[in-house]
Amino acid sequence: MNSQEVDPSRRPDVPSNKAPPAKSGGRRRHWSEPLRNQTAVVLLVVLVIAGSLLSDVFLTPRNLLNILWAVSLLGIVSLGQTVLLLTARFDMSVAGVVGLAGIVTVLAQINGFGLIASIGFGLGSGVLVGLCNGVLVLATGANPFLVTLAVNLLVYSLALSLTESKTLYATIPEFNLIGRGQLFGFLHYSVIVFLALAVGLEFVLRRTIPGRTIYVAGLNEVAGRLSGLRLQITKLSAFVLCSGLAALTGIIMTSRINSTIASSGFGMEFDSIIAAVLGGTSLFGGRGGTLRTIVGVVVLGVINNLLVLLNVPSEAQQIAKGLVFLAVVLADSALRRS
């Protein structure tokens, strides 16, 4: 059986020459050890310090809240992607689902359904896509990258044909409160949903049996091919959760911008994986968590915010993002190995 590219950090700890034997037995701790799995947090701190020095408006409450609001949508998608990554798979169709769910919701409203029902339809479309992805990948053993990429194309073409490339508008005014409403006048609902989901999912992952099975499912990929029914159902539900959260994001986004666009989710498929990886979730399953993804997402948001605050010209922005990303990943890799 072909082995996957082995994640170097998963290799058993080889004793390194750099740690000389301590006098009182046991290995002496290298200075970087507490930092080992917290590269994202370190980066966030560095960015925040840099930001406050370079721009006098960066550390204002308003700006920080803006950053949270801006990333909350990508954040929700990234949470779903994180859970799926824990099972050693990922979903490239989230981009299309974000667009589709919003369109389905608005179409339902245009056809006379109420607020709850239309949201139900929207979420349902995400669940269906997740089931599709899961069944295709798990039942056939096919490659998740290609399958979900192909499903993404199908979902996108479906979204285009449903709207005939026109922009549709929601018909129920209360709908817009979801994306734009604020608690106490300053905390957006979407931010609350994002943070609550992250905490809630982390609890489920760490403390409940279905959650822990997700980690097992991820580790299993390399260890062997245990395929009990419970394990398969867990893996399938990870796909459904990922798509479902993408659908939720699409609904909130549609509500936020008050119109539907089939391509509104484009870029999120890569960005959500980047956010999860930055936060410390492994591409190979079994390691990571949703609280970490908050950090990854916020890092991305801070970078985007600083690029605009400092008026970095658009050509240079790509270079900046690429460099930061590579620097983080290199640092992370180096810290793990020391």
Binding site: N2, G141, A142, F145, L153, L154, L283, A316, L330, R337
Partner: protein, 321 residues
């Protein structure tokens, strides 16, 4: 029976091409089955083929290269932008850049110990940024009409770019099939640790693979620049998906250790014929996207099922022994 299955599976890309030709030939014979259309197809796929070959090499070695599109676009821009210094300089600059990106990717993976997906995602962004800065967001127009010979010219009925691709094909076939460095790539992709224990220099092999991928992407870029006599910053957006799909159709595995250059050629040919045929039939955009997706899913699923069946058969055979 098992041997027949194996034989057919290894040539699935060629069979797909055959099937597509029959399908389009019967739906639109007047336009599809003409010499000029086949010339068009040959010329069109010749632009993508080098990139796909490079991607295949990396996949065989167990990696993946998402930066190919950006490298291709930058190479195209250099091939045009450096023409005031002489066309040979421009082409060498473009190829050199591709090689350089390959070296960076290789170092990130071997020395930086970063997973290929993540490493090339980073370089993709970086190179795209360099491209935007170098061109100032404008498209560049070539000043040497003779340069278009490579991308647009023909010798008899055969496009020159197609001949270039055939040359690459032969070279890479020799490398992977017969030269030790090439054969090592299969070992590295199949099982990195076993290869290492077997005396193969894993790092050197990976560096070679990424350098080839970068170089091939640059070759694609030079051909594009030559054909269009211009370079646009919008080039290459679709390249990662397209090259990986073509390579996977050509029998590569995302886990490494499998694939062949010839099959990769049929893979990119299949995609090219598909696009051409759908354009000739006037299939609307939404449907083209859906058809491409359905074919991709069908191939991937059938391939996965076939692998599973084969593995089950092997397991059964072992039990019976």
């Amino acid at each position: 029976m098992k041997r027949l299955l194996g034989l057919l599976e290894n040539h699935s890309a060629a069979l797909l091409v055959f099937g597509l030709v029959i399908a389009f030939g019967s739906s639109a014979p007047a336009t599809f089955l003409t010499g000029s259309n086949f010339e068009n197809i040959a010329r069109q796929i010749s632009l993508d083929a080098p990139m796909v070959f490079g991607q295949m090499v990396v996949l065989i070695a167990g990696g993946i290269d998402i930066s190919v599109g950006s490298t291709m676009a930058m190479a195209a821009s250099l091939a045009i932008g450096l023409q005031p210094y002489g066309t040979p300089v421009a082409v060498l600059g473009a190829l050199g850049f591709g090689l350089g990106v390959g070296i960076v990717n290789g170092l990130l993976v071997t020395k930086g110990k970063i997973v290929a997906f993540v490493a090339t995602l980073g370089t993709m962004s970086l190179v795209r940024g360099l491209l935007l800065t170098y061109t100032g967001q404008a498209s560049l127009v070539g000043i040497d009409p003779a340069f278009t010979f490579w991308g647009d010219g023909q010798i008899g009925p055969v496009p020159v770019s197609f001949l270039v691709v055939l040359a690459m094909l032969l070279g890479l076939y020799a490398l992977l099939g017969h030269l030790r460095q090439g054969r090592n790539l299969y070992a590295i992709g199949g099982n990195k640790d076993a290869a290492f224990l077997g005396g193969v220099s894993v790092n050197k092999g990976l560096m070679l693979a990424f350098m080839l991928s970068g170089l091939m992407a640059a070759v694609s870029g030079v051909l594009v620049a030559s054909r269009l006599n211009s370079a646009s910053v919008q080039l290459g957006a679709d390249a990662p998906l397209m090259s990986i799909s073509a390579a996977l159709i050509g029998g590569a595995s995302l886990f490494g250790g499998k694939g062949s250059i010839i099959a990769a050629f049929f893979g990119v040919l299949a995609l090219g014929i598909l696009n051409n045929g759908m354009n000739l039939l006037g299939v609307p955009t939404y449907t083209q996207i859906a058809v491409r997706a359905l074919i991709l899913i069908t191939i991937v699923v059938i391939d996965a099922l076939a692998t599973r069946l084969r593995r089950a058969e092997l397991d059964n055979a072992r039990i019976l022994e």
